[in-house]
């Protein structure tokens, strides 16, 4: 279908046809042009000129003020404060904005007031090329294809296509070293707790307060206390002693460790604990859960003390800390992993093992078990050794 702009329908009763609409009213043609005061009155014209020039002058003034502000107004936290705002940013921003804006307004006023504003008409051409052009192009292409012989030499054509397609493979292959796989990392353990299934927590590792790094005794905490906690290895300690150089976590491994090992401790009234598993892993009503949300991994520490519901600020997933971290609202799909707690010989809270299931967001390869199954699996391999730290069924 050619994109014909002329209507094939005949004229109707002498009215003119518009393309694409049937006849109703004739096109009255362009409106009569009305002049502007600046076109007819030389005084108005001069005034408009002065107005535009004033805008440009104002812009120049702003530019000068910008340079002066840059030289004279000190920036940063020690700089002056005007109207409660940092003076440097304010001065530079307002002067730069003025400098630009006045030029803009001036140029636009020039166009509106002084440049000719008689409407002009231009003919449109269809978007498609003319038939002759198309024919010529097609002929050119045809002769090119003919001369190359690509049409009648399928062996050449197909082998060329095949070899070029194959070139796509190196482009993808060279990107492999962008990063290891989860499997690689778990096997080689380039740093402590490597791999999505592990963290740096281990049996006997003390629970310490975040930021300050001090270990915690159960008697330090009252009912309702929420502690943002880390394993002591984050602060370079093991059993309260400084670790060696090669065990010290720094840089990227430290960040990786923190992103999985962060923990919240909550002291509840022991009678409030609902789940047996939670109770087994508690110490005097103190429970420890992963701080990393199982939705997409934001850290959670929004605890509603009266209900012991932990709310994640990112997407409002809510977990019940008395009931094995069960999801009670929001888009998280999985309960919050719990860290089994014990007490070491100095009376400090320690972990009885690593987290019994992977922490953080779900991923394809993750086997997901119910809380009871997780506990059973944990108990089989850890209950015996955990007794050293006071572990017993029903919690300490």
């Amino acid at each position: 279908m050619s994109s014909d702009l002329t209507s094939p329908e005949a004229a109707h009763d002498g009215h003119e046809l518009n393309a694409h609409t049937d006849a109703l009213l004739p096109n009255p043609g362009l409106e009569e042009h009305h002049w502007r005061p600046t076109d007819v009155d030389p005084k108005a014209e001069k005034r408009a000129e002065r107005q535009v020039a004033t805008f440009f002058a104002l812009s120049a003034i702003c530019t000068v003020l910008f340079v002066l502000s840059y030289i004279l107004v000190k920036g940063g936290p020690d700089g002056p404060v005007w109207l409660g705002w940092g003076a440097s940013n304010l001065a530079l921003g307002v002067t730069l904005g003025g400098a630009l804006l006045f030029i803009g307004i001036g140029v636009i006023q020039w166009a509106r007031k002084l440049m000719t504003d008689v409407e002009l008409v231009e003919v449109r051409h269809p978007a498609a090329s003319s038939e002759s052009d198309r024919a010529a192009t097609v002929a050119a292409l045809k002769s090119a294809l003919e001369e190359s012989g690509i049409g009648r030499r399928p062996l050449l054509r197909n082998s060329l296509i095949g070899s070029i397609a194959l070139l796509g493979v190196p482009a993808i292959v060279v990107l492999k070293d962008l990063g290891p796989t989860n499997h690689d990392v778990e096997q080689t353990q380039p740093y402590a707790g490597a791999g999505l299934e592990h963290t740096v927590w281990s049996r006997g590792m003390r629970v310490v307060r975040d930021v300050v790094g001090t270990p915690i005794r159960p008697s330090d905490l009252e009912i309702g206390d929420l502690v943002n906690a880390e394993p002591e290895l984050i602060f370079g300690k093991r059993d309260g002693e400084e670790v060696d150089e090669d065990e010290l976590l720094e840089g990227a491994p430290l960040q990786v460790a923190k992103s999985k090992a962060a923990t919240v401790l909550l002291r509840m009234d022991p009678d409030d604990i609902v789940s047996d598993v939670t109770r087994n892993w508690s110490v005097e009503g103190i429970v420890a859960y992963s701080k990393i949300c199982t939705h997409v991994g934001c850290p959670i520490s929004l605890n509603e003390r009266t209900t012991h519901h932990l709310l994640c600020p990112c997407h409002q997933s809510t977990f019940d800390l008395a009931d094995a971290g069960k999801v009670i609202f929001g888009p998280a799909g999985r309960h919050l992993p719990q860290l089994p707690l014990g007490v070491d010989e100095d009376g400090f809270l320690v972990a009885l093992s690593d987290y019994p299931e992977p922490v953080g967001p779900s991923y394809w390869e993750r086997n997901t078990y119910s809380v009871e199954d997780v506990f059973k699996g944990w108990a089989k391999s850890n209950a015996q050794a955990a007794e050293e730290y006071g572990y017993k069924e029903g919690g300490q």
Partner: protein
Amino acid sequence: MSVDTSKVASSNGTTAASTSAPTKAGAAAAWADERLGLAAVGKKNLRKIFPDHWSFMLGEIALWSFVVLLISGVFLTLWFKPSMGELTYQGSYPPLRGIQMSEAYASALHISFDVRGGLLMRQVHHWAAMLFIAGMMVHLLRVFFTGAHRKPRELNWVIGSLLLILGTIEGFTGYSLPDDLLSGTGIRSMNGFVQSIPIVGTYVDFLLFGGEFPGDSIIPRLYTVHVLLIPGILLALIAAHMLLLVYHKHTQWPGPGREETNVVGYPMLPNYISKMTGFFFTVFGVTALMGGLLSLNPVWKFGPYDPTKVTAGSQPDWYMGWPDGALRLMPGWESHFWGSTWSWNIFLPVIVMPGVLFTIVLLLPFIESWITGDKREHHLLQRPRNAPTRTATMVALMTLYAMFWMAGGNDLIAIKLHASINQISYALRALVFVAPVIAFIITRRWCIALQRHDNETLLHGYETGIILRSPEGSYAEKHLPLPEESAFTLTVRDRGADEVGPDDEPKPGGKKTLRSRIRTLYYEDDAQKPTLEELEEAHEHAEHEAHALAALEGHQADGHQFDDHYHEAGEEPLRGGH
């Protein structure tokens, strides 16, 4: 076709304008022409006509914002260090002295506090990014509502949609570069999204981050994407977008003197160049003023990114608000089959839903032309009311977008309106489905009502606001016929579905095809413009009425005939009389 060609730009003629005495500019131009042969291009384009309307400048908001982004962005790259290497800050912001942070964050602090104009440029850059995407959105809405996406401009629409998508990604990578707590939380979420992809999730995640989250590679990699890859693609796409605009010429509103076959307006040189230049300075100036007066993304208050810290009110920038909202509303569905985990709760709202919606937006012109069968070229715009189903569809999509947007800010709505965040989420889960339908229905009926009103005005004239009382005691409002220009403008629209494009033949067995059924629904209830007979009948009727009221004509009836504000009735211009 009687187009008045006496006003056609005479420089579009075939004889070259002759250069008279060799001025300096003339000599320079001659030098260039002898090497580049630019006169051929110049002849056609220097005085190219562009039509004039404020709604045609919305795309320019986006275009000039992009230029501002390039300028301010280059400034920032001179000081920004895209590295996650750890250092202990000892700079000029006291509350963070002695704290471990990445080089990227430290350089962002350096730019904000130690580089004069650095904070200004950071804020200008960030505001310009927001205006860029917002500008693209209002431009998209204008184009769609006025039907400028139809043939031959479908490809331009596709290019524009790609620009929108890429702009959004560019913004996300950009605000993540300073590695502060808020944007780092966003990167953590991105990590969760990627991890949730079935089968390949962990592999792609580890490739992206160079290992486990957070690693030390993500910021430098996002930097490359943000500064090199996406801007390059954006520049190419913008160039293509502009080229097509110039080739097709801009669409225009119907009106006196305007046809499908012409374009009425002002020439590129000097009018449009000046207005565009002026608007560029305006956009830059407004953005600079915003950068100077309105603080945004105060990275020093967030602190460096730490995977154990988070702030309430963690939202991405506004243009990512709707996938965030979808993520918040989604129930926690996860399936476990044979040791694998399918995270529907993440995959669906963040990967699938935006992909589907973007694809629909991309394909809108093609879907429309499939339904209507319209194969003609269009250069005259349509008023939104004259395409009720199209307008209502976009309003429904906007409503869907708005519901997700609100969900993304549900915690802030909760504290500002003292409402329960849980109730808000439950309500929005329902509204996401219900509100677009309601919006569609209301908008469609509204458009049809406006069409009817237009027809009334065409047939019976416009209401003058003058109430006449006849000697018998009856009241009537005086209607006057529309001026010729307005009446003509109102009639420039298609009549009926068949004029737009042909229907399908029914299938063997008499059933209508799917397309035919959709097409019927698409045009259902449209109030068509009057026929010629109806119009002539109405004009006759109007003349009768005018005769009947002739006795009352010429007499002022506003109460001033008795005081010294009396004047001859004929002099007073009636409302809308030109």
